[in-house]
Amino acid sequence: MKLPQVVVYESDGSLAGQIRRLADENAWLVRESRQSPACLELVSEVRPSVLLLKLERELQDGLTLLARVVERAPDCPVVLVSDVKMDGAEQRAQLSALAMDLGARYVLFPPLQTPVIEDLVSGLMAATIRRTVGAPADESDDA
């Protein structure tokens, strides 16, 4: 039976660690992927409720993966999490605009605070479930 699940693409496991408590609390599955081809395959296979895609040193690789994921699974909300230190607001704005053009729902920059990531994932998860089953994902949403 399909479960709400989050796929995390990154090289070091830190982002997955930041959402572990939230995922455990809700019994969501968290799947980690460290290679682009494996990530694409995973997204196609499991159709995750949310994909967290960490952008690391190789910007082009991450953005290419983003474009391919959106092409393969347009319903899967993708959050681009930049781990790349950028000097100014202009660079961050350019990257955000490009990522959103490619299909990212949100773009996060350091410092990557756990409460922010948890809130974002919770909201996207609830929205995906609501869209899929056509009903509120949580009674509290009705308030």
């Binding site: 039976m1 399909k2 479960l3 809700n26 019994a27 969501w28 599955l29 799947r31 089953v133 994902a137």
Partner: protein, 65 residues
């Protein structure tokens, strides 16, 4: 992680009986098949297993791969 309902898609006929019988309302139909939308609320009671007319549901620990 505890045991949760898993679905054999090839057997499911989309009757929705499992959704109706679930005492904690953790299941919902997503198109033709049920989806475990609130796994944290599942109490592994196996009511869905018992009511399924085609034996398409089992309780087992979710697999990550």
């Amino acid at each position: 992680m505890r045991e949760l309902p898993t679905l054999d898609d090839t057997r499911c006929i989309g009757s929705g009986d499992c959704v109706a019988v679930c005492p904690t309302h953790c299941l919902a139909m997503a198109g033709p098949v049920p989806w475990l939308i609130r796994p944290a609320d599942c109490v592994s009671c196996a009511a869905c297993v018992a009511v399924c007319p085609t034996d398409a549901i089992r309780l087992e620990r979710p697999r990550l791969a």
